[in-house]
Amino acid sequence: MVSLLFGLIGVLYYQSAQKLMLSDRRADLTKYAYIQTKRLKLLHHFFDEKRTYPRDPRFVSAIYDIELVPIFSLLEQPQIAFDKEIYIIGDKIHFIKTLDTYYLGAKYLILEVENSGAWLENFWRDVILYGLVAFVLFMLLGLYLAKLFVKPMRNSMVLLDRFIKDTTHELNTPLTAILANIEMMDQEIMAEKNRKKLTRITVAAKMVSVLYRDLTYLILEQEKESIEETIALKALIEERVEYFDILARSKQITIELKLAKVSLVMDRQKCIRVLDNLLSNAIKYNHQGGRIVIVLREGYLSIEDTGVGIAHKQIPLMFDRYMRFNQSEGGFGIGLSIVKKIIDEKGLDIHVTSKEGRGTKMVIVW
């Protein structure tokens, strides 16, 4: 749009500069035409004795009759636009004077002069100079407006970041205490009713734990240098599935594992963050009694669920920070942004296929 506007202004300015130049030249050419007409008059009266067409070092000329037939011409550009008074043709300027008295039978006197091109150089100089100034001004204005419009969004993100940072520190101690005490409880001697309650507490605490670790990673650990090690992915996946087992069972979700023995060199904590987020999402957004299939082979890991899915047009946005498409489950919308960050940092690729109401398949390849 801005380019189009600049283009339009450029064309208008070009036309205006050309008109101005022609207007300047018109004054000189009118004077030359007057002189040449006087010479033609003389030649007309002394045509019996004199046959040499009058020449002038400042211009060349031609005379045409009323039927537009050339009587005599010295022009280098023979194409003449009789409907115009002055115009540019190639590297020449033509000026057409209509004679009132047809000396030598001529109705049109055409003068031709060089089009020096100095005006064009000035035009380009002005266009580049003013164009650059206008471009910079537009850019600054655009930047200012963008900042103005983005400011409320930035403010809310800063507030959220600050809130997360502040609350994260306060979450650690109680969460650790809850999880440690749950593990220490002897469920064997518990009544069935209490055991179910404990299971619910465990599920909730583990979900909070995943969220806590995400937040910790986001705020504290992402800047840390990675500690690369060879990870036995099959064992790690089994461990993480075991961790989420109680969560999956609470929704009667079956997890099917098709795992080959594959190892990957990566920071262990980051790998856990990826697996935990993909697994917890597959459980959270799955239907009651749904299914999760995890396939691992060399260079390939997929986690497929039979959950709510996501609209095709929303897939490119799902890795954005604080982006949430489903409000039915808790969270800040940071899990997948962490996954994408780690995947990109490691140079892996992640592909998403999803159908609303049918489920989602996340594939990581390396």
Binding site: H44, H45, F47, D48, R51, T52, Y53, D65, I66, E67, V69, I71, F72, T101, Y102, Y103, L104, G105, A106, K107
Partner: protein, 110 residues
Amino acid sequence: MVKVWIVVVGLTLVGVAEGVYERNCVPCHQALPSTLQQMFKRYLLVYSGEKNLKASIKHYLQYPDRSISVMSDLFIQRYGIKSKSWLSDAELDEAIEVYWDQFKVFGRLQ
């Protein structure tokens, strides 16, 4: 007698060879102070273009009138308006063609 006939036939042939312009235009204009070329230049000043000029001459020869004459009032006062031409259309066209070729500006300027 035979010699007389030869002279008569000879003169007739010369007359035919002279053409309609030389026979019908030149003799009368020779008596006028303004030459045929000067008159041609007067036509050029008023009627630019070959077709235009030829048409205007032909019209004047067929319908001579003071109001459409290219000559000055002084000239007309002194010598009057010519009488209507009795030449046919074809003869007029031929004579005007010769007149045009003789005095045209086209191809004469250097």
